[in-house]
Subunit: 100 residues, 4 copies
């Protein structure tokens, strides 16, 4: 948790920051789209299909972040940091698997 | 799919439309928050925690919509509609389970 | 829960009982296979691939049971039973989505 | 995949092999229990609850294997192996998230 407070020099996803924000903007638009569907009283099943698509897009973002974390923060970390960052990564996987 | 085109008189979630839109607005804000975290180069693991929280919120919305669908569109449907709406509901569950 | 105690005349899956048990026997064999892989110290990633395959097979069984339940126990239920069985079905979906 | 063929000197889970096999034997018994429930025509919802419990147990095994893999095969790997093992680990996480 201390990690979260410090201002770190570089994140795993630094290289792909723009791409990441583009994807998040698209997801934000998808959520807004679902709200519009509800406003228009569109068929429940169609709304659910959209929600499943948003979750797929979020999982894709999450898998990309995990991959960046593994490469940059874990493998690229100093000897003393790797253990803790691996632990944090596993806890994050557990939360994504909804077992956290 | 024909269902999606017709303008239906009442949806499963009609009664809770406001509540639903409030929740979706909150989720939209959470996605925007994740984008801001990325802009600020916050720690990957903290970003992942937020993504898992958004997915939990989306699942909650989805479970609510499914429940409304089962009560209003399936049980409240006419004899001839129930079968197809049950089928659509099961396909939606499969997609939420990521097995669709 | 009272439902679980009564001896019921017919289950949603009665018609497909044999097929269901064949699938479960196959899944049991897959679990035994994973145990053998561990005994032989096979590569962790290969073991994980097998576990993911078992979960996919279990989800398929679960979706089939849900479908049978929706058709036989909910739609085929008497007026007074449908509501509760729908509720139980939704709770089951929540557990399968790991949000129960 | 070449990895799977070689006889490796040590797996991530070597230390916890007995514990792992005990858990898998328990899961095998749970699957057999579900088959017995079906034979006895137990209530569909109770069968589904058991299936969700088996999936939770399998996820726990999978998370343990991933953790062992990260520590022993990735962090403990030689310079030249780490990259590929990280890649394999991420692909495994994707499959567990059902996005593989």
């Amino acid at each position: 948790m201390a990690e979260s407070k410090r201002q770190p020099p570089r994140r795993g996803y630094t290289a792909s920051k723009d791409e990441l924000q583009k994807r998040l903007a698209r997801i934000e638009g998808q959520v807004r789209g679902v709200s519009k569907m509800v406003a228009e009283e569109r068929y429940c099943i169609d709304v659910l299909t959209q929600i499943a698509a948003i979750e797929a897009a979020l999982d894709k973002v999450a898998l990309g972040l995990l991959d960046d974390h593994a490469r940059v923060c874990v493998l690229g970390g100093e000897e003393g940091e790797r253990e803790q960052r691996t632990e944090e990564m596993m806890a994050a996987v557990g939360r994504l698997l909804r077992r956290g």
